[in-house]
């Protein structure tokens, strides 16, 4: 992608589904460019230290973020504006944490864990995910 091109990108889903018994966990975001209210999915690479690097458009502009895939096999949600540092954490009941702020992700994850019925394994996965926010 050319350096001087300014595009607006949003996270509008995750490349996962049926996460209930595997969460909380980081998930790869579905990223789309928004132009005049229309959406076009982009491919991206994930660099270390953590950074999402946009690569190329995948497909055409569509009217809704729900129409980004010809076959719906991923989970979508209301588009959220993103930055290259944005992380997405699935909580397991269809809700997601989307933020580039480590502090906000940490706080929201802790609150979410406190408000959910949990097993020791859920707590262990939450601890791993908490550590992964910073790694």
């Amino acid at each position: 992608m050319a350096e001087n091109e300014v595009r607006e990108f949003v996270v509008c889903g995750v490349y996962e589904k049926a996460l209930a018994r595997l969460c909380p966990c980081h998930v790869s975001p579905v990223i789309a460019e928004v132009l005049n209210g229309r959406y076009r999915r982009w491919t991206y690479s994930i660099h270390r230290p953590y950074r999402l690097v946009m690569k190329a458009p995948a497909g055409q502009f569509v009217d809704s973020s729900n129409a980004l895939f010809p076959v719906v096999s991923y989970q979508t949600f209301v588009p959220i504006r993103m930055s290259p540092e944005t992380q997405v954490i699935a909580l397991g009941d269809g809700s997601f944490l989307v933020s580039e702020s480590h502090q906000r992700l940490t706080w929201q994850l802790l609150v979410a864990v406190c408000h959910r019925p949990h097993s020791p394994k859920y707590l262990l996965r939450a601890a791993i995910t908490l550590a992964n926010i910073f790694r």
Partner: protein
């Protein structure tokens, strides 16, 4: 030659096969696999679990083989590639049965190392094209040359009906997010022992694959 499957946790039937659990549904859908390495630069569709199979997985599931193709037919059908002729006719040129697909794989296995490496990374060269020209129409080879920079044009995918079997010796490597591994859902993966590696899900499967490759090389 290695075979690859990148999947999400919604592929319950495949996860059940990997974990050696009885199937929870009577009929499992068709699953797609491909020859070579995972697509990493960057993937067009992402998954969270990576399975690398030995070639024996293909040969020992011949009865479940649905079809094979040198290129990603889904990408043609869904408009990521423009087919040079009517899509259904082009698909028919690409699709092959088990006998033909395994003959193609066998012939490609005899290529020089540099070409085999190119093939594993979903690239194209004159040696690969020469082998393929023995099996496929010129239109297919020309299409693959035209889109040679796109890994989906040289994917060598194959589809297996849900009756396929995953044995312990079929699996060379399983990369699973570290948090997933602490789930009762995936406890059965322990049967693969040291073939299972974990990674920080934030960085995705492709970063885990590149890291494993650099460690092993």
């Amino acid at each position: 030659m290695r075979l690859t499957k990148v999947l999400t946790s919604s592929k319950t039937h495949l996860i059940e096969k990997l974990c050696a659990r009885p199937a929870s549904t009577p009929t499992a859908p068709i699953d797609f696999f491909f020859l070579g390495e995972p697509i990493v630069d960057p993937p067009r569709l992402r998954g969270s679990i990576l399975v690398i199979f030995h070639e024996s997985f293909l040969h020992e599931n011949s009865e479940s083989f649905e079809f094979g193709s040198p290129l990603d037919l889904g990408a043609v059908r869904f408009g990521f590639f423009a087919a040079p002729i009517e899509i259904s006719r082009f698909e028919a040129m690409c699709r092959c049965d088990f006998e033909k697909f395994s003959s193609v794989v066998y012939a490609l296995s005899g290529l020089p190392l540099a070409s085999r490496n190119t093939l594993e990374r979903h690239g194209m060269d004159v040696h690969i094209a020469k082998v393929l020209s023995r099996f496929f129409n010129t239109l297919v080879i020309e299409f693959m040359w035209k889109h040679a920079g796109d890994p989906h044009a040289c994917l060598f995918e194959f589809a297996l009906r849900g009756t396929y079997r995953v044995a312990q010796e079929h699996v060379a490597l399983l990369a699973v997010p570290d948090a997933y591994l602490r789930s009762s859902e995936l406890t059965g993966l322990r049967r693969f022992g040291r073939s299972v590696v974990s990674f920080n899900a934030k960085y995705g499967v492709e970063e885990a694959w590149l890291r494993m490759k650099s460690v092993n090389s």
